[in-house]
Symmetry: C2
């Protein structure tokens, strides 16, 4: 099925979800680790629009944006489907994946970034988004049932990032008592051998987190 390469960073969970998908499909790939502080000509050539990781290279053709890449992987390598077969269930997965990236992930980062008066409001807003996801995941081993799928890979940042966020910010974001189903799901997900095979180190995530938060705060400061 052709040569597969991933331009990624081991510090980014957007890249990890691509590796998980390829491993689930049993696709061999070469990993090109990118120094995000000094982006390579290869990255700039293959993702000139966003200049961001991850990028999937398949026989020299490039694909960017992690959710778009996951759909491509699922369509090209049809074994172990990531998206459900039923159109309505597919749509539900896509909806929650988008929601998770745009609201839950960004909302949680927003809560960490916020300072002063804004903090409480930002934490409440993050909790509100998390509560919607909690309801969706209620009582499920994985999002799609008995095997890992598209939505699980998309929300796979939760068990990893949340613990980093809490460690740094000393702020409980997804509290076990409030979100028991997300915690049970996180446990199932992290116990899956294939998922454990490919995880960024806590140290790498911590470094990436500090950089991201400083960057977001500097943007905020420049605006004022």
């Amino acid at each position: 099925m052709g040569e597969v390469k991933v331009i990624g960073s081991t510090k980014s969970l957007f890249c990890t979800r691509i590796e998980w998908a390829l491993k689930l499909k049993g696709v061999e790939y070469e990993y090109l680790n990118e120094d995000l502080k000094n982006k390579s000509p290869t990255l700039l050539k293959y993702n000139p629009v966003h200049k961001k990781v991850p990028v999937l290279l398949h026989d020299g053709k490039s694909i960017a944006e992690s959710l778009v890449i996951l759909e491509y992987i699922d369509e090209v390598w049809t074994q172990n489907p990531l998206l459900p077969q039923d159109p309505y269930q597919r749509t539900i997965s896509r909806f929650w994946a988008k929601f998770s990236d745009e609201k839950v992930l960004l909302g949680s980062f927003g809560a960490c970034k916020a300072q002063g008066e804004e903090k409480q409001k930002a934490v409440e807003s993050a909790h509100e988004s998390q509560a919607f996801l909690e309801k969706e995941i209620e009582g499920k081993k994985y999002s799609g049932g008995e095997s890992i799928g598209y939505l699980d890979l998309t929300i796979g940042w939760i068990p990893l990032w949340i613990s980093v966020m809490e460690e740094v910010d000393e702020m409980k974001l997804i509290e076990t008592e409030k979100f028991p189903f997300l915690h049970k799901w996180s446990q199932n997900f992290m116990e899956t051998p294939l998922i454990r095979e490919c995880l960024p180190s806590g140290e790498a995530l911590l470094e990436h987190f500090h950089t991201t938060i400083s960057f977001l705060r500097s943007l905020e400061a420049n605006k004022q």
Copy 2:
């Protein structure tokens, strides 16, 4: 194929793209026009997460988020495909649709919203995003070739919104000389009878534009 309803607003081009898709597919539907200033219990019931239009109801099942809805329509009603059949071409359409919504559309709104010192920077940033889309559309009648597809419907806001933005803001956003291919594409798109059948009025767009810009500026003011 079951009962189809669209909860929408004739002022929103996110809703118009859903109507265009259903018309292209030859699907009959009922339109439930929503008063966005006084949202109906029906909207809140079927899109409790975002509380936004459009929502597609198919046999009572609800789907939100316009790009997710387009994919659903294409999977359920397979005649006149919206997405290309080739996985790589599909991925390209998805990439540019996401880019168009997140960068070109929001960037253009950002340029209109910006005031004072920020204005020039925001206009340049919008032009930069538009230039990427211009390159993608170069020399094509429609984005996918000879018939209207997913990406055309997604960027279908351009010929309509841009003229409203320019009228209000007295600022040329997509200049003909700079973006000849986007202009040629806009012309082809707007000359298509099926597209013309279903267009929001200029007046409705103008009103919606003013509301959106005022809302964005008030958010900005509250932050400072």
